[in-house]
């Protein structure tokens, strides 16, 4: 089992969700995040001076999957989130030791989906 963390552009969330559903990955968690990366930050204007926003808004996905779903998940995200421009984001894959479904108490592979 792996825990996949992905940072994407906020406006791509719907497309990514859609693509994941098509690959039968329907469970995920989403949080707001601010990101610093190669993307240089855009400018905001406020009262006569330029504001360097170098913490950019990103959306963070957390998806726990069984091993055979790792590839499809990564594929789905990269396909749907890619615009080719700096700031598209990153995916991180972490080892996941166990998983518990609170409702039933099931654990492991059975609990993920």
């Amino acid at each position: 089992m792996k825990l996949i963390i992905a940072y994407i552009q906020p406006e791509k969330l719907n497309d990514v969700k859609q693509m994941l559903f098509e690959k039968k990955i329907s469970k995920l968690s989403v949080t707001n995040a601010l990101g610093c990366g190669q993307q240089q930050g855009y400018q905001e204007h406020y009262r006569g001076t330029v504001v360097e926003i170098n913490l950019l808004k990103k959306v963070r996905l957390e998806i726990a999957v069984n091993d055979e779903f790792v590839e499809p998940t990564i594929d789905a995200i990269t396909t749907a989130a890619r615009s080719g421009e700096i700031g598209d984001g990153k995916i991180f894959i972490l080892p996941l030791e166990n998983c518990v479904r609170i409702r039933t108490g099931e654990t492991g592979i059975a609990a993920i989906g």
């Binding site: 906020p10 406006e11 969330l13 719907n14 707001n32 400018q43 905001e44 204007h45």
Partner: protein, 455 residues
């Protein structure tokens, strides 16, 4: 001896026709022994002053409606487009006042201008700019109020039309295109149709009746809104496949503030349209106006509650506006009972209308078309049904509705159409997804707040 006297010194030599009012002050200072003098203020002078005070108060309230629209519209749209909406509404009132002073007023009231032109009842213009010097500050201009009050009260009305449109085209229109449209709409379209009735034009001669503007203001704004919404198309993600995916407003307290301010503003909109402080008239208009608004809330609440199974705040708020728009044409010619009926029907109508426009995929983020167009038409026709004046007829009302509708809708379609073909009407897909605050203004409305801008 305080502020008064100090200031008078400065004022005395001003070359304007402040005659009567200054004399009043002088007389007041001189005390009662002066009453036999030639220059004492007459009862008519005092009444003129009262009327003018009332009209100024009404003007303030109509001004406040612009804040009402700004807060309502931004409250009912998404956080990522808030700066844009606020900017538009601030620009509209500023542009509106200047444009109306320069062109609109003399186009809408050709006979109020300094040089009276040939007024054929269809199109007249009495020159650029405003000038209230001379007798126009006294009751010889108008028994109700001064030229200045006249202008300002009308100017506050004028910008309303553009503000209505702003809500319907929100979250996707290019700022520049919208501002160009606003200038033309306030300078040309609104004053022309306005002149047909309030400028004593052909519709007035016909016997068409529209007390404070169900048609002349609200449906005019509504037609412009409809044209804009059609040409722009719906927001991304609103209609997916066969289904409607409502896009929720981001700040309902803001929207509620907006509706209460609009309700308050309507006291001036309708109360001021009596055009004098006449006690019976004004207060009766306030009662019918309030009863219609209250009835609109109750009807919209009940209808939406029974359709959706849950009581919908945004609908209750729209119900208030629906009732207010509905009563605007007839506030002075119907009984409180009729006002209640007009409001109830308007409140029900607005719910049905919102659902209808979603069915035909005309995307109107704040429901402006349903509130101002649908209920504006209803209110205008209601004059023919409920008026206590036997000369009013539903047929004449229909003529007015259609004539003004055709002209305004065509005007808006053409202007929006030309803009679309040239500089473009709609922002890019990326800009829309990121939100107009960042794409058009580089400026977030809620800096620091964590907001999901993914929708």
């Amino acid at each position: 001896m305080n502020k008064t006297t100090a200031r008078e010194n400065g004022k005395m030599t001003v070359k304007s026709a402040f005659g009567i009012t200054l004399i009043i002050l002088v007389v007041g200072i001189a005390g009662s022994e002066a009453w036999a003098s030639e220059h004492q203020p007459s009862i008519a002078d005092v009444l003129f002053t009262v009327n003018n005070v009332w009209m100024m108060v009404a003007t303030f309230l109509v001004f406040l409606m612009h804040l009402g629209f700004a807060t309502l519209e931004s409250g009912l749209t998404r956080a990522k487009n808030t700066t844009n909406i606020l900017f538009k509404n601030t620009a509209i009132i500023a542009i509106g006042i200047l444009t109306y002073a320069f062109v609109g007023f003399n186009l809408m009231y050709p006979v109020a201008g300094a040089e009276t032109p040939d007024w054929n009842g269809w199109l007249g213009f009495s020159g650029f700019g405003i000038d209230g010097s001379g007798v126009r500050e006294t009751s010889e201009y108008n028994p109700g109020y001064t030229y200045w009050t006249d202008f300002l009260f009308q100017a506050m009305f004028a910008a309303t039309g553009a503000t209505i449109i702003s809500g319907a085209v929100a979250e996707r229109i290019k700022l520049g295109s919208f501002l160009i449209f606003t200038v033309l709409f306030v300078a040309i379209a609104y004053p022309i149709t306005g002149s047909w009735k309030w400028g004593t034009g052909w519709l007035d001669d016909l016997g068409f009746y529209d007390f404070a503007g169900s048609t002349l203001v609200h449906s005019v704004g509504g037609w412009g809104a409809l044209a804009g919404a059609i040409l722009l198309g719906p927001r991304l993600g609103k209609y997916v496949g066969g289904s409607v995916r409502p896009i929720m407003g981001h700040n309902l307290p803001l929207a509620t503030i907006g509706v209460f301010l609009l309700w308050l503003g309507w006291f001036g909109f309708n109360g001021g349209s009596v055009l004098s402080a006449a006690a019976g008239d004004t207060s009766r208009v306030l009662v019918t106006t309030n009863i219609a608004a209250a009835a609109g809330v109750v009807a919209a609440m009940l209808v939406s509650w029974s359709i959706q199974k849950k009581p919908d705040l945004s609908m209750a708020l729209n119900g208030a506006l629906a009732g207010l728009v509905g009563i605007t044409a007839s506030a002075d010619v119907v009984s409180p009972g009729s006002a209640a009926l007009i409001g109830l029907i308007a409140g029900a109508l607005v719910v049905v209308s919102v659902i209808f426009f979603d069915k035909i995929k005309v995307d109107d983020p704040v429901g402006a078309i349903s509130v101002h167009l649908t209920c504006g038409i209803w209110g205008t026709l209601a004059v023919g049904i409920f008026s206590t004046n036997p000369e009013h007829s539903i047929f004449k009302q229909l003529v007015g509705v259609i004539a003004i509708g055709v002209f305004t809708f065509a005007f808006a379609l053409i202007v929006f159409g030309i803009l679309k073909a040239t500089i473009g009407l709609r922002v890019s897909k990326g800009a829309e997804l990121r939100g107009l605050d960042l794409s058009e203004h580089d400026q977030e409305a809620y800096s620091g707040f964590q907001i999901f801008t993914t929708q």
